[in-house]
């Protein structure tokens, strides 16, 4: 049920082998390295990982929002309707950004402009992308606020971000992002800064609006619970790479990468102790490696309970091991069959810190 329509229709967005680096005084950080995935119309893809794994940088690379000399996407293609976003002129990209592909950020207070009213900020998107007259844009902004269930939307449209609560601000962000009916919505930790009861409201709202607008969502979060609830397919990232990608059911029920398994076994689950007694949480030993100085071979090998000799030497590829369930790990025999020449000259462009 999950994987069958993977080939059914043409993907809206194809991220193909992108690599994004940050060039700093400390050296080169390979924040995103060889990341590929696609997103179909109306689908929700979850991108999950811990802080520093490159999930937000992936989103910023798609939106081309990285600051130029410091962070650059140096390799790969990001095709939107078959057209490579990385080759578009700045003005063409500006039309797509916010119009066709919109983004909501984690902290609505820092991503809304404090000196403009909520209504002005939503209306700006409409005048920029839809050539609407200011008055019509404002009316539409109020209508959008109503759609995201902001009480008394006319009044709220005239207020400034600081006058709204966290949940209201996030609703305003969603209204802004959806105002131009984008085809893709990138949500970067949209509920992390919110309380659980407000988080439930926002997730509920996003799923409802997704149906109404037929928007594809790229849901970026560290919260496995949010992923399980919203996504249909999931990609797990670790140290800049996707280590596992599968349908949500096969990922949660049959995780194949040791990192995914560790992650799933490390979270306490509500009701588990009440029904079956206390289980010792599984620890993923060690810490996330520095992006300036990644381990050789598989980046996860220093923390992996099943590491073998080959893991230290060669980088595994992301391969399909079971009906669209893709995993980047030497535990799976297909890996050995791959011609290892891609791995042969060991990648070492990062200088030591």
């Amino acid at each position: 049920m999950v994987d069958q329509d993977m080939t059914a229709n043409h993907p809206l967005l194809e991220v193909d082998g992108i690599k994004t680096c940050f060039y700093t005084v400390d050296g080169v950080a390979r924040a995103v390295d060889d990341v590929s995935f696609d997103l179909k119309r109306g689908e929700t893809l979850g991108l999950v990982g811990e802080s520093g794994c490159g999930k937000s940088v992936t989103a910023l690379s798609i939106m081309r929002l990285l600051k130029a000399p410091l962070g650059r996407t140096v390799q790969g293609e990001i095709r939107f309707h078959g057209q490579d976003l990385l080759r578009l002129s700045a003005s063409r990209m500006r039309d797509i950004r916010g119009g066709k592909i919109a983004m909501i950020f984690q902290e609505p207070m820092t991503s809304l402009n404090p000196v403009y009213t909520i209504g002005d900020q939503i209306a700006e998107a409409l005048t920029a992308h839809r050539n609407m007259a200011p008055k019509a844009a404002m009316e539409k902004a109020v209508e959008m606020l109503e759609k995201v269930q902001v009480p008394s939307p006319e009044k709220r449209a005239g207020e400034y971000p600081h006058q709204l609560s966290g949940g209201m601000r996030q609703r305003a962000m969603i209204a802004m992002a959806l105002s131009c009916s984008p085809e893709i919505l990138i949500a970067d930790e949209p509920t992390t800064a919110l309380d659980v009861t407000i988080q439930a409201q926002i997730i509920d709202l996003m799923l409802e609006l997704k149906e109404d607008f037929d928007t594809a969502i790229l849901m970026i979060t560290h919260d496995l619970g949010v992923i399980a609830e919203t996504a249909r397919r999931v990609a797990v990232m670790y140290a800049g790479k996707i280590v596992e990608q599968a349908g949500v059911f096969s990922l949660f029920e049959d995780p194949k990468h040791p990192y995914t398994r560790g992650l799933l076994a490390s979270v306490p689950r509500l009701g588990e102790r009440s029904t079956g007694g206390r289980r010792r949480l599984r620890e993923v030993a060690g810490i996330v490696p520095s992006l300036y100085d990644l381990p050789t071979g598989c980046s996860f090998h220093p923390r992996c309970p099943e590491a073998m000799d080959v893991c230290l030497k060669k980088r595994p590829d992301l391969l399909d091991v079971d009906n669209g369930h893709r995993v980047r790990c030497w535990l799976y025999p297909d890996q050995a069959a791959v011609v290892p020449e891609r791995n042969a000259p060991e990648f070492r462009e990062g200088t030591q810190r």
Binding site: E50, L224, L270, E272
Partner: protein, 320 residues
């Protein structure tokens, strides 16, 4: 005596001052009439959303904040009426672990200075004995003795939190108050810290008050759970009762709102309408009535008293 801490009708209000003469124009009712007990060896969880007063409650228990009303008794002695000597002894018995390990460690002090500080203040042992104690504490929290001369910035987030835990253990306390000890950490590191906390409890016979917003973490660690909403405790019960038969509508909503890492769980989610009201101007009657899906007659007028609905299960709601 089995009860270590008894709290009766504790109130902590913060005045809001305005204008040239700093007149008090209102109050934030951060903690408003909380009663609870903590027994020896027990782990009590305090759960609630931001602004419900859970951190203020923790601070008041340690007397890091002066209560506005009510009483906190430690082993039968009211903490606001202790003599200086008694207070010094009390300070050794109760310690705290903070949420953010970055801001709760002094960046200019080595680990040795941070951990040795409390020992020095309480005049424990000679300098050599203190050094041994620091090394012992470091091994207990999963660090190595040779890390004692390093500074906080040389450690990762999880390691810093271990240092915070070691500091709380330094004086062999009876009670540790842990205020969101894992919420600033990554998922894979959270498990390490949760396991460490449960191990240390076994080994040193500690009692914990764990303050958190994550019910899954609370349920995993705590024996008894108190649910707070807008400065009041709305429900207290054993962890099984909270999960299997939550009494208060807020507890039920909270339980149903938590996203579960299992895509097969079918849920009847109770979506609460609206936001948490401001603690400056709490609603009359039951403080939850503005968002309660089961509100009826008396809810917006009469403040419900907390009452025992089953053995050991207390709920403050007019439904009972």
């Amino acid at each position: 005596m089995n009860e270590l801490i008894t709290v009766k009708d504790l109130k902590v209000h913060f005045p809001i001052r305005k204008g040239f003469f700093s007149r008090t124009v209102g109050r934030v009712y951060a903690v408003d009439g909380v009663s609870l007990t903590l027994s020896r060896g027990e782990t009590l969880g305090v759960v609630g959303e931001s602004g419900c007063g859970k951190t203020t409650l923790g601070m008041a228990l340690l007397r890091l904040l002066e209560p506005t009303g009510g009483a906190v008794c430690f082993q039968g002695k009211q903490i606001t009426e202790m003599t200086p000597d008694e207070r010094r002894a009390f300070r050794r018995e109760m310690q705290i672990i903070f949420q953010d390990p970055d801001s709760s460690l002094n960046p200019r002090m080595t680990v040795h200075q941070t951990l040795g500080g409390p020992l020095k203040v309480h005049r424990t042992g000679t300098s050599a004995e203190r050094k041994d104690r620091v090394e012992y504490l470091l091994t207990k929290v999963g660090l190595t003795p040779h890390q004692a001369d390093r500074y906080p910035h040389e450690f990762s987030g999880g390691q810093k939190q271990r240092i915070g835990i070691a500091r709380a253990l330094a004086l062999n306390p009876k009670v540790i108050i842990a205020d969101e000890p894992v919420s600033a950490l990554d998922v894979s590191i959270q498990a390490q810290i949760i396991n460490l906390l449960t191990d240390l409890q076994q080994e040193f016979g500690l009692s914990y008050i764990l303050i958190a917003h994550d019910l899954a973490v609370i349920e995993h660690i705590c024996d008894r759970i108190a649910v707070m909403y807008l400065g009041k405790i709305v429900e207290t019960a054993g962890y099984r009762d909270i999960y299997h038969s939550p009494g208060h509508p807020y507890t039920r909503a909270l339980l149903s709102a938590i996203p579960r890492p299992d895509p097969r769980i079918k849920r009847d989610r109770i979506i609460l309408k609206g936001d948490v009201p401001s603690p400056m101007n709490p609603p009359p009657g039951c403080r939850f009535h503005t968002r309660c899906p089961e509100r009826f007659g008396p809810c917006d007028q009469i403040i419900p008293e907390i009452q025992e609905v089953e053995a050991g299960h207390f709920v403050a709601c007019h439904l009972y």
